[in-house]
Structures are given as C-alpha cells and as structure tokens.
Chain length 323, copies 2
Amino acid sequence: MELYEKILQGNVRAASRLIRNIEDDFPQAKESIAKIYPYTGNAHVIGLTGSPGAGKSTLTDGLIAAFRKEGKTVGVLAVDPSSPFTGGAILGDRVRMQRHAEDPEVFIRSLATRGALGGLSRAVGDSIHILDSMGKDIIIIETVGTGQQEVEIMNYADTVILVLVPGMGDAVQTLKAGIMEIADIFVINKADRDGAEMLKSEINILLDMALAADCDWRPPITRVGSKEDKRQFVKGIQEIALQIMQHNEYYSGNYKALKKRQRRKALFEIQAALQGIVMQFLMKRLAAENSLEDMIDQVISRKSDPHSAAREAVLKYLGQTLI
Amino acid sequence: MELYEKILQGNVRAASRLIRNIEDDFPQAKESIAKIYPYTGNAHVIGLTGSPGAGKSTLTDGLIAAFRKEGKTVGVLAVDPSSPFTGGAILGDRVRMQRHAEDPEVFIRSLATRGALGGLSRAVGDSIHILDSMGKDIIIIETVGTGQQEVEIMNYADTVILVLVPGMGDAVQTLKAGIMEIADIFVINKADRDGAEMLKSEINILLDMALAADCDWRPPITRVGSKEDKRQFVKGIQEIALQIMQHNEYYSGNYKALKKRQRRKALFEIQAALQGIVMQFLMKRLAAENSLEDMIDQVISRKSDPHSAAREAVLKYLGQTLI
C-alpha cells in the first residue's frame, strides 16, 4: 500500500512520515499531497494565536477535551519557527497536551521548518491537508509568537481565535501585529487577573471602530479563568467550543461569505506554492551557473545594488518568456 | 535636483518621500535606490528585537541619546507589520522618542507595508540604504513581535540586540522563535524585577550549549534597570553602547568573520529582491491571462491541488527557460 493510501485510512505513522518529508522539503512529498488533496476540505480548521505566555497550549488542551467529548476527532499542529539551536521544534509546551497522547483519535504534531522564504507557511498548508484527509473533524493550528508570518498562517484557518491576557498591553501589541483584524473569536485568558474587564472594553472599542455597520459576525469575547479553578476553566472552554460551531454555522448559511473565504484560502496557498516553485528553480539555476557568487560580490563591492542584480538575473534566465 | 541627490545631501523630506514610495511599492523607487546604493555601506546597523512589552522603544530612546552625546548621527526604523485596522504603522510608541524630534541629526520613521510575500523585508532593506546614504552613522532597526519575519529582518543588522524581561518565560519563548541564536548582545531590561539573576543564568546555560569552543565573540549580557531610576538606566545604556562598539571592532579586526557577515547580508537581500521581482512578473501575467481565477476554482473544486496548479502555471509561463 502506498503512503497516501495509508494516510487516507487514518494511519498515524504514515501521516507523521509525510509531515516529516514535507518539513524536509522532499520533492516526492508533493506528489503524495496531490494524491490526498481530492479527499480534503471536510475538516474545520481553527487557528489559535496570541502573545508568548498567553496560555495557548492550555486552551488547546481544553478544546481537545471538549471536542472529544462530542465524539469529534482532532488534529493539532503546533507551529514553532525553526531553531538552529535545537535543530527543530521544541516540544516542551506539548507536554501539557500529553494526557491526549494515548487517544488514537487525537493527533498532535509540532511543526518546524528549516529555511526561510515562506517555507513554514507551505509546510503548514500541506500538513493541514494531511490531517484533513486522515478524517480529522477538527484541526487546530497553534502558532507561537505574533509576527507577520504567524498572521499569514492564519489565512489557512476557518475560524481564528486570538488569545489575550490582562495587564500585558496585549490589545495594542496585537493590534500592531495585524492579528486583531483577522480574529473571529476573542479569548481573554487568565481572566481572574486584574484588568480583564478593561481589556474587554478595549477590544469592544476597537471592534466598534473596525467593524462595518452591515457586518454579520461580531467576534464574541470570552473570558476564561485560570486552569486552577477547574470548573470555571471548563465552562469557559465549552463556551469557546460553542462559538466555534456558531461561527462555522454562520459561514455554512452564508454562501457569499463562504465563497469569499474559500477563495482567500486558495489564493493564499497558490501564491505560497508559486513562490516556492519559482524560487527553487531560480536558485538552483543561479547556483549551477555560479551566478549567485558573482551577484554577491557585485553587491558587496557596490558595483550593483541587490534589486538591479536580481532584475538582471531574472531577465537573463527568464528573459522574454515572462516579461 | 533629483530626489536621490537630495537624499545624499541629507534632506529629511526627500528621504521620507522615498521611504513612502518604497512602502507603496512604486517602481520608480527602485531606480532611486540603485542610484544611492554606491554611497552606502558606511553605517553601523543595529537590530533591536524582543517580546512585546519588553521596553524596546525606551532602550532605543536611551541609545539615541548615548550616540548623540558622542556626536554620532542616528537613524531609527521602527518596523510595524501592516495593520488593516489603521491602514499603516501605529505611531503611539514613537512618542517616547519624541524628545529627539527636534534634533536634525536624528531621523525616526515607522515602517509598515501592505501586502505579504516578503514585502516588509524588502522595504526594511531599502530604507536602511536610504538612511545609510544620508550619512547616518548609526541605524537602529526596532522590530515589534517575535515572529519568523522579525528574525529574518535581523539579517540586515551588523549587531543584533535581544531584549528580555525577567518573569515572562522570555528565554524559552525567544529560543522557540529562533531569535536567541542570532543575538550578539543580550539585554535584561527591567532588571530590578524578580528573576533577573535567574534569567541571566538561563541565558548563560543556553550560550554554553550553543557556542562553539573556538567562538571568538561570546554575547555579553547586560542588565538595565527601570527608567524611573535614571542613573542606573543611563549606566546600563552606556554599557550597551560600549558593547555595540566592541562588537563592531571585533568584526573590523576579523576579516573572515566580516566577509562572512557581508555575504550573508548580501545573499539575504538578493534573495528577497529575486522573490519580489519574479512574483510580481508572474502574478501580473497570471492576472492578465485570467489564469489565477481558473486556478482558484480548480483548487476549491479539488480538481487540482495548489502545488500542482502552481507548477503547471510555472511550466506554462516560464517553460523551458527555467527548467
């Protein structure tokens, strides 16, 4: 049986292997993705993001439990930008989710990728397809950090959850990072701390400013207490799980909004793929012709600037075909 | 007089205009960059990064004052990822640096960019060249957030400063984001808080693990007290300014390390330029042929997957030239 067939049957080892091949950028991995792709599009993809230390892993853990209780299968992708220090993803945080490790219907993976130029975004997209084709009902993408690429990764999600914590100046900081604009659900975590009410007011003011008058979905704001107060914590989690389903229903019942979201997701993924393919071809060609070293020398000696050198190379190798 | 000539004479309005044209991706802007580029390479570029709320703007403000006291001219680029909420950069934080607003030898700009696909990285690179050609001795790039792209932007810096704060789990979080590996100088800010000593030990342990035995530069770790205790704060800032100069001297006296850093910077900028040029050509071509809409439809209907659709388009439009 081929690798992709095993994945379609829900085989966890096969799925892990393909994700590893995607991270390592093996060319054959793309063929497997093409084969599973017709079987995708059924999972509900949740993006969960927020500042470091906002308690994202704890919330993800709670959501896994809530969805499992409803009989739904769950996949989790924890996105850690690559660290040369460790040569890959750091698993520390994942320990919090280990109580689900024995559950065959829960699949948790940390995702890292070496190399820049959008490699991480592409690896996330492909990994979502893998979990989707395995038959996971819910896929949670958890991103560490609040940078530009983390915002971009949220393009893959059907529902984006932004986790904030009182007293960290979070509202303004995440506003800066451009994340607030893409959130479908706001969560105020550790809401037993001082400032939770003020944070909620801040978010509401920002929403009032930003949302169009005819907007059909106003992002709800849910407060979740610390996990030490288990009853309150579970209550908060259940509320978020309900809002996720409501957000999903809102889209299901709104053809125009659904189409728009589907096109946005597809465009984002096509652009990321185009970028990866073109750059791979071009860098290989430049290396083969030793052009890259020449270009670097020219730029360092100020005989050419980076843009002109790049433009010259593109004209030389892509010539009339493209321009 | 042409725009670039005014910039070479240090004209602030001309520089602001070119930066704005770069942010808006005007094609003519690249011609101006090509013209000023021969006059660049003289500034010392400092990258300053760390978690939201780490106090980066306060430190930048302190560093500006320290460098001005030595008679050096300073440029600051505060990098805010684009926010659709505000349509641009948020200037709130910059208020802290306003005491330098009247000083003609200090140039401060917030930098934002609409659109993804590495646009921000390219805008930062070009803006550094603009400040460099204006004759600024020191250029500080301050990035908000701790994401993948923020790490990439640090590739433009000669000296990377990582700002950490006690009690935020910062060491582990920034380790995850891959920032710790690229730091040349560590700053523990708000060091009067509990946990400063422990944070220092953590950083030292991580450095022991990571640094090669024959490594010539071990990143120093400096503690800076809160700005309320002005004497301690200024003392800490002076120490950092000294370390920046020492780091610069280390490179000046080490030909191999200097060459390596220059090549890394040039390669990064050439790749970013290649990516921008090729993607612009390709997306324009696809839009003109209405191919992009077809591709999106195919991907949504699962008749093709994003990678295969992208590959087909690349083969069709770049054909034999590239492959």
